[in-house]
Symmetry: C2
Subunit: 103 residues, 2 copies
Amino acid sequence: MVKLIALYKRPSEPEDFDGHFDAVHLPLLRAYPGLRRLELTRVEGAPLGEARYRVMVELYFDDRMAMDAALASPEGKAVTRDLMAFAAPLVTVFHGAVEPGAL
Amino acid sequence: MVKLIALYKRPSEPEDFDGHFDAVHLPLLRAYPGLRRLELTRVEGAPLGEARYRVMVELYFDDRMAMDAALASPEGKAVTRDLMAFAAPLVTVFHGAVEPGAL
């Protein structure tokens, strides 16, 4: 299993950001072909100091090939277009292999 | 459900870092009282450019109270001590509420 992770810094207008994220961006994410699971975390704080993030979204795919195909699909391009339009300066995107949990 | 997320930047000596992480830090994390799930992601890349992270670990707890109790426990203090000793300049820690997935 692999996942694509998008981590969003706290925006200057959190309510506007959340509104667009929930109403527009999230439905686009859910349309990724081959998506196995989506997990959304609303960031609330940090053990030390303040959290600099607002939200994290994790998209699970069977393997790297499925993820790459999703990113290259028309649905994936719609995600990227929307992301660049509403959150380009806020978002960091990376991906990795999920290790089978021993717990 | 809440989770505590630790995101580690790429270290200058990745093999040394991974060795300590896997052999020492991970067993300490698994000892957190009240831990419901641990997910470990080995970061492999980014859709655009290079990923600046090496690993992400996510620790799931029933609720905020359980997470706070884990952090304050002797096991939690052992985690923090080890973290500060081997990865203080690399790690970012934050927590948030996991939304029930619609997928």
